[in-house]
C-alpha cells in the first residue's frame, strides 16, 4: 500500500473520528453533570443538520447566494435550534425524573429520540428520503498520488478541533465552566455553595447539543447528504466512544471517537473479510476493551460509588 493511499485512509478516518468525538463529548458532558445517559443525543445531531438545511432552503428561496453568509446562517440555525432542543430535553424530560433510576432516564430519552427522528421523517418535506445538503465550502483540492486532499475537509477538521478546544476552555477557564465542574463533582455541595443547579444543567444540555449540531452540519457538509435516521448509528457510536474513553471524561470521549473511527477504517481496509463487517469488528473490539478496562481507557476522575 502506497504512502498516499495510507494518507487518504487516515484523512477519511480523521473526518469520521472528529464527528464521533463531537457526539461523544455531548454524552460525556451530560453524564458528568447529571449522571444520566441522554439517548436522544444522536437524533439531536440529525435535528441540527435538518435545522441548518431548513435555514439554507429558506435563505436560498429568498435569493441569498453568498456561500459564506449561507454557511453562517446554517450554523447559527443549527446551533440555536439544538441548544433550545437540548435545554428542553433537559428541562422537561431529564430533570423531572432525575431522582428515578438511571434506566428510566435512558428509556425516556430513547423514546424522545424516536419521536424526534419520526418527526423529521414525517414533517420535513420528503423526509423519509435522503436530502441533499449544499456544498458551502470551497471544493478545490490537491492530488498527491492516490490522496485527494480537499480544502473543505481540512476546514471541517480544523473547525471541529476548534469546537472541542473551545469547549475545553469554556469548562476549565470560565465561571460557568467552574460551576459545571462543581456540579459534576458534588451536586449537594455545589447547591449549598449557591450554584444555580438548574441553570447549570440547562447550559450543559444546550452546550452538548450545540456540539451535536456541529457534528450534524459537518456530516452534511462532508457527505452532502443528510437522512432522518442519520443520528441513530451516530448516537450509538458516539455513546460507545464515550464509554470506551471513560464516560464523564472529556479527553476520553475524544480518544474514544478517534479510536472507533480507526477501528472502522482498519475493519474495512486491512482485514480479510468483507467491509460490511467493519462495524461488527469495531464494536467487537469495543466489547473486548470494555472487558479489559470496565471504566474506560481514561477512567472517571471521580468515582461515584465511593
Amino acid at each position: 500500500m502506497s504512502a498516499s493511499l495510507v494518507a487518504q485512509y487516515v484523512m477519511n478516518g480523521a473526518m469520521l473520528g472528529m464527528m464521533y468525538a463531537l457526539v461523544a463529548v455531548g454524552f460525556t458532558l451530560f453524564f458528568g453533570v447529571l449522571d444520566v445517559i441522554q439517548f436522544a443525543h444522536g437524533d439531536v445531531v440529525a435535528a441540527g443538520a435538518f435545522a441548518g438545511l431548513l435555514a439554507w432552503a429558506g435563505l436560498s428561496a429568498a435569493g441569498v447566494t453568498s456561500p459564506a453568509l449561507l454557511l453562517v446562517a446554517v450554523l447559527l440555525a443549527a446551533a440555536l435550534a439544538t441548544a433550545l432542543l437540548g435545554a428542553l430535553v433537559g428541562r422537561f424530560i431529564v430533570l423531572p425524573i432525575k431522582g428515578a433510576p438511571q434506566l428510566n432516564v435512558l428509556l425516556v430519552t430513547l423514546m424522545a429520540g424516536t419521536v424526534l427522528r419520526e418527526a423529521i421523517r414525517l414533517f420535513y418535506p420528503g423526509g423519509s428520503q435522503p436530502q441533499r445538503f449544499p456544498a458551502l465550502l470551497p471544493s478545490s483540492g490537491w492530488n498527491f498520488g492516490a490522496f485527494h486532499l480537499r480544502l473543505d475537509n481540512v476546514i471541517l477538521l480544523a473547525a471541529g478541533a476548534l469546537m472541542i478546544v473551545g469547549t475545553h476552555l469554556f469548562i476549565t477557564r470560565t465561571r460557568l465552566g467552574l460551576a459545571i465542574r462543581a456540579v459534576a463533582q458534588d451536586e449537594e455541595t455545589a447547591r449549598t455553595m449557591g450554584i444555580d443547579f438548574r441553570r447549570v444543567v440547562l447550559v450543559t444540555f444546550a452546550l452538548g447539543s450545540v456540539l451535536a449540531a456541529f457534528a450534524g452540519v459537518m456530516d452534511g457538509l462532508y457527505y452532502n447528504e443528510v437522512f432522518f435516521g442519520m443520528g441513530l448509528l451516530l448516537g450509538v457510536i458516539g455513546f460507545a466512544a464515550a464509554i470506551l474513553g471513560g464516560l464523564g471524561n472529556l479527553y476520553g470521549a475524544i480518544v474514544g471517537g478517534f479510536l472507533f473511527a480507526a477501528l472502522q477504517t482498519v475493519g474495512a481496509v486491512a482485514l480479510p473479510f468483507a467491509s460490511a463487517y467493519k462495524d461488527v469488528f469495531a464494536f467487537g473490539v469495543v466489547i473486548v476493551l470494555m472487558a479489559i478496562r470496565p471504566t474506560g481507557l481514561i477512567g472517571e476522575r471521580v468515582s461515584e460509588r465511593v
Binding site: Y9, N12, Q129, A268, V269, S275
Partner: protein
C-alpha cells in the same frame, strides 16, 4: 359445509346474472410504504376484469377479490391462506414485494391455486421451486443485469468495480451482474459488500479508486446509492456510476442534484406509454377515473389478469385445469400489452421488457431517447 356455502354463492350469483361468476384474487400492498404501486396494480387488474365483463362473448362473469398483503410476509401468507381455502377463488394475480411473494409460494402450491406474480422481481420466486402453480409476467434481476451488462460492455467499458448491499436484493444483483459482465468480456477488479444503512463509504471507495475501474456498479437502494455517488466525487473517483432498479426514482436525483447527471440504471418493465399495448391501456384506464395512477407495474397486473381469464375461458373455473392451461406449451408468444409472454418450465416469462435509463438534466430518460445514446453527451471516461 364449505362446499354447501360455495354452492349457495354460485347459485345466488346465477340468480344475479345469466353467466356463472368466477372469482379471482388480487393480492398486493394496499397500505403502507408501497401502497401507491399496490393500488395502481389493483386498479389495473380491476380494469382487465371490467373490460372482460363488458365483453358479451365472455363465458363467465368475473369478480376480483382484493386482498392486502401490506408488503409483509406474515400478512401475505394469511391472505394466501384465505384465498386458497376459499374454493370459489380459482386463481390469483399476486404480489409486488419479493419477500412476500417468496413467503407465499408454498401456500399457493399447497392449495393448488394458479397464480401469476405481477411485480416481485426476485428470481427465486419462480426459480427456487418446481411448483406448477407459480408464474410471473414481469422480468427479474437476472434479465435486468443481462441488459445492463450488455449495454455497458457495448459502450467499450472493460474494468468494473462493484459495491452492493448485503441483503438478498444486493447480493442477487452482484451475482447476476458479475456473471453477465464476465460473459460479455468485462473484468471485475473489486467487489465490496456493505450494510444497507451504512453512511461512510470512503474506505471502500478509496480502495476502489486505487483499483482504477472504468465503471462502478452499484447494487442497492436509493439511500446508500446517493451516499456512494456523492462520496465518489469527494474522493475524486471519476468512474461511470451504473445502478439497478433500486435507484430509479426522483428522490435519487433530488438528493444528488448535478452529481446524478449521466448515472445509468435499469428496471424491469417499461413506462406504460412505451409498452406495445400501452396507449390503449392508458386510455381505458383513464375512462374508469381511478383515484390513483397505474404506476410502473399496473400494466403487468393487467396482463396477468387477462392471461388468467383467457385460461379460464378455455378450461372453465377449475384450479387444476387452469394450472395445466398455463403450462409452457400453451403460453408461448402470447400477445399482451406488455409484449409477448412465454413461460418457461418454471412459469417465468422469458421475454420480459427491461428499460434502460440514464439521468439527463435531472430526469430519468430512456436510454434510447437520450442524448447519451445519440452521442451528443458522453458517459464518464468516454
Amino acid at each position: 359445509m364449505r362446499l354447501a356455502a360455495a354452492a349457495l354463492t354460485v347459485a345466488l350469483s346465477f340468480a344475479a346474472s345469466a353467466k356463472e361468476t368466477v372469482r379471482i384474487a388480487f393480492v398486493g400492498p394496499l397500505t403502507g410504504g408501497n401502497s401507491a404501486i399496490g393500488l395502481g396494480g389493483r386498479n389495473s387488474a380491476d380494469l382487465a376484469v371490467r373490460l372482460r365483463n363488458a365483453d358479451a362473448k365472455a363465458k363467465y362473469h368475473y369478480e376480483l377479490v382484493v386482498l392486502d398483503d401490506e408488503c409483509k410476509p406474515d400478512a401475505g401468507v394469511q391472505m394466501a391462506t384465505r384465498a386458497g381455502s376459499d374454493r370459489t377463488i380459482v386463481a390469483g394475480v399476486t404480489h409486488y414485494c419479493s419477500v412476500v411473494a417468496m413467503a407465499t409460494v408454498d401456500t399457493w402450491h399447497r392449495f393448488g391455486v394458479p397464480v401469476i406474480v405481477w411485480g416481485a422481481v426476485l428470481p427465486d420466486i419462480t426459480y427456487a421451486n418446481d411448483f406448477k402453480e407459480i408464474h410471473r409476467v414481469n422480468g427479474t434481476m437476472i434479465n435486468q443485469n443481462e441488459a445492463n451488462a450488455r449495454l455497458v460492455t457495448g459502450q467499450g467499458y472493460k474494468k468494473f468495480a462493484v459495491i452492493h448491499d448485503t441483503t438478498d436484493y444486493g447480493k442477487g444483483h452482484d451475482k447476476y451482474f458479475t456473471q453477465f459482465v464476465k460473459q460479455d468480456g468485462g473484468q471485475i477488479v473489486g467487489d465490496f459488500g456493505v450494510t444497507a444503512d451504512q453512511q461512510d463509504f470512503t474506505a471502500e471507495l478509496t480502495q476502489i479508486k486505487a483499483l482504477n475501474p472504468e465503471v462502478l456498479y452499484f447494487g442497492g437502494l436509493t439511500p446508500i446509492g446517493v451516499r456512494v455517488r456523492a462520496q465518489m466525487d469527494k474522493l475524486g473517483l471519476k468512474a461511470q456510476f451504473d445502478g439497478t432498479s433500486g435507484i430509479v426514482n426522483d428522490d435519487f436525483i433530488k438528493a444528488l442534484g448535478p452529481l446524478a447527471e449521466g448515472v445509468l440504471a435499469f428496471r424491469e418493465g417499461a413506462p406504460a406509454e412505451k409498452l406495445p399495448g400501452g396507449k390503449q391501456f392508458l386510455a381505458d384506464y383513464q375512462k374508469q377515473a381511478y383515484a390513483n395512477p397505474p404506476e410502473a407495474y399496473g400494466p403487468f397486473a393487467y396482463a396477468a389478469a387477462v392471461l388468467l381469464m383467457d385460461a379460464i375461458e378455455k378450461t372453465g373455473p377449475d384450479r387444476k385445469k387452469i394450472v395445466a392451461q398455463l403450462a409452457p406449451a400453451h403460453v408461448k408468444g402470447v400477445e399482451s400489452i406488455v409484449g409477448q409472454i412465454s413461460f418457461d418450465e418454471h412459469g417465468q416469462n422469458t421475454v420480459p421488457a427491461i428499460s434502460k435509463y440514464v439521468v439527463q438534466d435531472g430526469k430519468w430518460v430512456l436510454w434510447e431517447d437520450s442524448e447519451y445514446a445519440a452521442g451528443k453527451r458522453k458517459l464518464a471516461g468516454k
